[in-house]
């Protein structure tokens, strides 16, 4: 847990005064919920029968042999309901909101995974759901928009700023400032004003708790855990169980994008492009310009395409407890292909950054200590992005014939 909302010098509650009291109330409600056996019992029930936990820990024997290094394991978090770890947090916070008497949930989403998870959780708990999504993302992530709407959510395209995730966060903050009496803002990553980083990590820590048990069941220990890092929710959930275990190395993988130029990546920790900043309600490392304006970012994976990093991960990075590295767009795509071919497992592009770093580590590593990758999401959601990159001509033909078919049906 944070100390009064801070992780070393990062974190805090840098929001307009109007939101200070709602955050205090949220913190109190969260503390009370965690001490309530009935709440925890319902959470376990939802995790088991709605989310589909535990998710498997797969021994990737073919991949390990081909790389000629240590044994590689994959935590198949992407097998959770709605296709990614996001549902762990969404269902937990939705339960918390309902307990607080809120009737309406708002959320921000970039790629749409958090939006899908939130919409599903709200449908299940009977809560109204509004998802803010940058207009650019709405256009390029239509399958997820369709999914959210099927779950009964209202998707609001955001036309301000860069029309991406960061702008959706601003819009959600605005909505919350106006409607906090009835509405809970369900933040999807381990960032934002305190207590959100603590709440999100707590609901995601089931990933690490399960992994620890599953490793013990297999008689493996120590080694290296690898997770991709956008805001940091899957990484914090995966790592938090192991923070006090010095035999386990923790590696966070950022989006190297197209290269090191400003606007071509989302590397906050492993490069030299980031600065301390106060944005979106918390203090952390951010990609900003000389004036402190938020800089543009890029990643082939929408889920990593964000200028900041959760405050706890920033602190763990500075302390040296978590080591950061990055993987490029190309490396991530190669990792998707590699694990699909060798293990029959399709990584989401976000998680494939962790896969790419693990491949690199396995080739370098001398010892036989295991490498455990968190596959935070599965890759089917990315077919509209990977197909034009991997098989452009066939994909064009498909889209054209689909267009003709739909047009012809009118």
């Amino acid at each position: 847990m944070s100390t009064l909302g801070y992780f070393d010098r990062f974190g805090g509650r840098y929001v307009a005064e109007i939101l200070q009291q709602p955050l205090v109330e949220l913190e109190q409600a969260f503390t009370e919920a965690l001490a309530d056996p009935a709440f925890l019992a319902e959470l376990v029930e939802q995790q088991r029968n709605f989310v589909g936990r535990p998710t498997p820990l797969l021994y990737a024997g073919n991949a390990s042999r081909e790389l000629g290094g240590p044994p590689i394991y994959i935590k198949l978090e992407g097998m959770a309901h709605t296709g990614a770890h996001k549902i762990n947090n969404a269902i937990g916070q939705a339960m918390l909101a309902k307990r607080m008497g809120k009737t309406r949930i708002i959320a921000e989403t970039g790629a749409g995974q958090h939006g899908i998870a939130t919409a599903a959780a709200c449908a299940r708990l009977g809560l109204e759901c509004v998802v803010y999504m940058g207009d650019t993302d709405v256009r390029r992530q239509q399958p997820n928009v369709a999914g959210m709407e099927l779950y009964g959510a209202t998707v609001v395209p955001v036309h301000s700023g860069a029309k991406t995730l960061k702008d959706a966060i601003n819009e959600a903050m605005r909505d919350w400032a106006t409607h906090f009496e009835t509405t809970h803002y369900l933040i999807g990553s381990a960032l934002g004003p305190s207590p959100f980083p603590d709440i999100v990590r707590t609901f995601q820590s089931i990933i690490g708790d399960e992994t620890k048990r599953q490793m013990a069941d297999r008689g493996i220990g120590g080694g290296t855990l690898v997770a991709c890092v956008g805001g940091g929710s899957n990484a914090m959930g995966f790592f938090s169980t192991f923070l006090d275990d010095p035999s386990v190395r923790l590696v966070g993988v950022e989006a190297g994008g197209r290269g090191p130029a400003i606007g071509d990546h989302a590397v906050r920790m492993s490069g030299s492009g980031a600065e301390d900043g106060i944005i979106h309600g918390y203090k952390s490392r951010f990609l900003v310009d000389a004036d402190g304006q938020v800089a543009p970012t890029h990643s082939v994976s929408a889920g990593l395409d964000y200028p900041g990093i959760g405050p706890q991960l920033a602190a763990l990075g500075e302390r040296g407890r978590v080591t950061f590295t990055s993987a490029t767009d190309t490396e991530a795509l190669e990792a998707v292909k590699f694990f699909a071919r060798t293990e029959g497992v399709m990584f989401a592009l976000e998680s494939a950054h962790a896969g790419a770093a693990a491949i690199r580590l396995a080739r370098q590593q001398e010892s036989d200590k295991p490498i455990v990758i968190n596959m935070s999401g599965r890759g089917e959601k990315d077919l509209f992005i990977t197909s034009p990159l991997l098989r452009l001509e066939e994909w064009k033909e498909f889209l054209e014939s689909e267009l003709a078919r739909i047009g012809g049906a009118e």
Binding site: G12, R13, Y14, V15, A16, E17, I18, L19, Q20, Q21, P22, V24, S160, G161, K166, D167, I169, N170, M173, R174, A177, T178, H179, F180, E181, E275, D276, G277, I278, I279, H280, G281, F286, V288, A290, D291, G292, Q293, V294
Partner: protein, 251 residues
């Protein structure tokens, strides 16, 4: 009106152009405003409504810098020395330059004080101290959702000015001034002078609020007006803004 109206008018620095922003300031001065509140545009202004956010984005899209914003304020100080300027912005612009240096630079060009809504008064990164050092005001923002405990805490700091944001929400939508609002203003007044605003659009709202605050703040109404008249050039902007300011100040 029996009570003289003191109006704080909000401008986005450099919006929509340097020339038209200066024309708007001229109109406000002629319309009898008592204070300028000049916003230094930030890329992610989460406490502002759509009108001000779009204005900021438009200004930033031409590469506008904090230094240019300060230069705009320096111009206002030179042209209208009788009208104090408060600069409003977001924490990261001050933090990036360094809070102390930001306050020093602000004082140097004659800014009367800084309003930074996402640096809350109890975690202000040293803003109040830095401002005191250079003889300007850090103006904290108070909101009706504040607990009694926080209101007391704020009062204990003895700020000379407090900015009261008068509705649960963001700038740019209509405000009704009800009993609850007036009770809130009484609770935060203490020994501070109050700037009260958010959502002020017409003279009757100003008339209702004016007796309870030191100055009434009007923001989005001017930003909207400037945007709407931008096509008419310097004279059009100046006249439209002057007329609205006169309506609000009762001049």
């Amino acid at each position: 009106m029996s009570i003289p109206i003191s109006l704080m008018a909000h401008l986005v620095a450099g919006y929509p152009t340097d020339e038209l922003a200066k024309a708007a300031a001229q109109g406000l001065a002629e319309g009898g405003v008592s204070y300028f509140e000049v916003q230094l545009p930030f890329s992610d202004p989460s406490a502002d409504g759509p009108a001000i956010q779009s204005a900021c984005a438009q200004v930033l899209s031409r590469g506008y810098t904090v230094s240019e914003g300060f230069a705009f304020i320096a111009y206002l100080r030179q042209m209208f020395p009788q009208i104090p300027v408060y600069a409003m912005t977001y924490g990261n612009l001050a933090y990036r330059r360094g809070i102390v240096r930001f306050a020093e630079d602000a004082a140097e060009i004659g800014i009367a004080g800084l309003i930074i809504p996402d640096l809350p008064f109890d975690h202000d990164e040293g803003l109040r101290q830095a401002c005191t050092q250079v003889g300007i005001d850090a103006v904290p923002v108070a909101a009706p959702s504040m607990s009694q405990q926080r209101i007391t805490l704020l009062g204990n700091h003895g700020y000379p000015y407090v900015y009261a944001s008068l509705r649960a929400g963001i700038t740019g939508t209509e405000t009704e001034i009800d009993n609850r609002t007036l009770l809130f203003l009484d609770s935060i007044r203490g020994s501070s002078r109050l700037f009260g605003g958010f959502g002020i659009r017409n003279a009757s709202q100003v008339g209702l609020l004016a007796p309870y605050v030191h100055a009434v703040v009007a923001g989005s109404v001017f930003v909207d007006l400037i945007g709407a008249h931008a096509g008419e050039g310097v004279a059009g902007v100046r006249q439209a803004v002057r007329e609205k300011a006169r309506e609000l100040t009762g001049m």
